[in-house]
């Protein structure tokens, strides 16, 4: 039984009209929703309010972070050594792959330059931690500890060590909200690494399943294919792993095959992610990038002498043609 208070309402002659204030507040709520959703005019209001929310979110995050810190500092020596060994082994392996990758990247850039299509490769990244805060359980969103103060912008791509993680949906002053690629409202253009088939991967609301609803029955896709980002739409850098196809089910009568994929990024286990900046792919025939040393030397060797009389003397002192040949 609820405790009665001494100031219970009189039954007759209530002190203020409840219905009127309810109506006013309800209308204000509806107005807020319309302004926020349809017109997006509340960025500033949301900014002020998130300044109130930020300390609360930090306070919720703090005990979890402190606990991690404590367990980390009391981690025993042998485990740290073990971890260290594993990491250096992985680093060696990664460096080995990187050596090959550097050559490939150069080649790729040259090829793309020829097509006057600058690649959307990430060139700057910022590490951000995921705050230990639960947002809506039915939306795949997380809160990062970096915001407008750190240059984060709406629509920025977020990656982790294994692949594409999501994109920034809301930017506040010191925090930002990220929508994961597994959110049911998210879609990302992808390409099969094996067959080059382009399609769209849509989130399902399940953190280890994406769905590819627009793959026709005849298309060349099978389980185990790696899906990489295409860079179309300009949100995500191109060529990063997104997901691996886990199931392809073809019903001959249907137009589309049932295709599922598992995201390569560890969406539900990550603690730290990368916010990346990259030059969006430029498709307009702008001036070719000639600042690159390798590009100019290539350009100097490729066309025969006498093609560009004005450019030849400029290139000659930097790299004499006889020395170029064995390279």
């Amino acid at each position: 039984m609820v405790e009665l208070s001494h100031d219970s309402r009189p039954i007759i002659g209530r002190d203020r009209p409840l219905g009127a204030s309810f109506l006013a507040l309800a209308l204000v709520s509806v107005g807020l929703m319309v302004a926020d959703q349809r017109y997006g005019q509340l960025e500033r209001v949301r900014g002020w309010l998130s300044a109130v929310a930020y300390p609360v979110q930090l306070a919720v995050d703090l005990p979890f972070r402190a606990w991690e810190r404590v367990t980390e500092s009391f981690a025993d020596r042998s485990r740290l050594r073990q971890e260290n060994l594993e990491l250096s082994a992985r680093l060696r392996l990664a460096n080995l792959q990187l050596q090959r990758f550097a050559a490939l990247e150069d080649e790729n850039r040259r090829l793309r330059d020829m097509r006057e299509n600058s690649s959307g490769v990430a060139d700057r990244a910022l590490v951000a931690s995921i705050l230990n805060v639960d947002l809506d359980p039915f939306r795949h969103r997380v809160l990062l500890d970096k915001g407008a103060e750190h240059g984060v912008f709406k629509g920025q791509a977020v990656l982790d060590a294994e692949g594409i993680f999501g994109q920034v949906a809301q930017v506040h002053t010191r925090t930002s909200e990220v929508i994961l690629i597994s959110d049911a409202e998210h879609a990302i253009p992808v390409q099969s690494n094996r067959s080059g088939l382009r399609t769209i991967a849509v989130g399902t609301g399940d953190s280890d399943r994406l769905s590819l609803p627009f793959v026709t029955v005849e298309s060349d896709l099978k389980a185990g294919d790696l899906l990489i980002s295409t860079g179309m739409g300009g949100v995500f850098p191109s060529g990063y792993p997104v997901a691996e196809v886990t199931r392809v089910e073809r019903t001959p009568a249907a137009t589309f095959a049932l295709v599922d994929a598992r995201p390569t990024a560890r969406l539900d286990r990550d603690r730290e992610v990368l916010l990346v900046w990259f030059e969006p792919p430029v498709t307009s025939p702008a001036t070719p990038v000639a600042s690159d040393a390798t590009a100019t030397s290539q350009a100097a060797t490729a066309p025969g002498p006498g093609m560009e009389p004005a450019a030849a003397p400029a290139a000659a002192p930097a790299a004499p043609p006889p020395a170029e040949a064995p390279q």
Binding site: E3, F22, V28, S29, M33, V56, D134, F138
Partner: protein, 160 residues
Amino acid sequence: MRPSNLTRRLFYWLSVAAGLVLAIVPLPEWLSPVRPDLALLAVIYWILTSPRIAGLGYAWLAGLLLDVLRGMTLGQHALGFVLVAFLTHRIQLRMRMFPILHQAGAVMALLAVYHFVIFWTDGLTDHGYTGSDRWLPVLSGGLLWPLIVAAGDSLLRSRR
């Protein structure tokens, strides 16, 4: 002596703030959909015990703060909170005479109204999730109600 209005006000605000904080504390994934709406339960409790303190404006503000904390469309939870607070005010004289189980049933009806508002506005803003587990907080809130009443009443009695 009964607790003064000031201490009641203080308790009211502290309990609603605690409810708001608990609304974003990370839970294991299987438990997360069951998370009861503690802030709203606190608002209902205080409207029943001290209706003059727990007005509609405060309930609305608590809902708005929840919107900001969770990054939802502004006004969504605010509308749910103010509607539930209004309904509770209308039936509070009857509701506090109910036996506790009956009261828990009424609270579940209020929570269902609240979640319907959220569901509806989610649908309008294209965030619709139609799984049946989104109604689980109605059940968990109803089961938790006797505990909340017990905790609140003992808090108020200890301040007498």
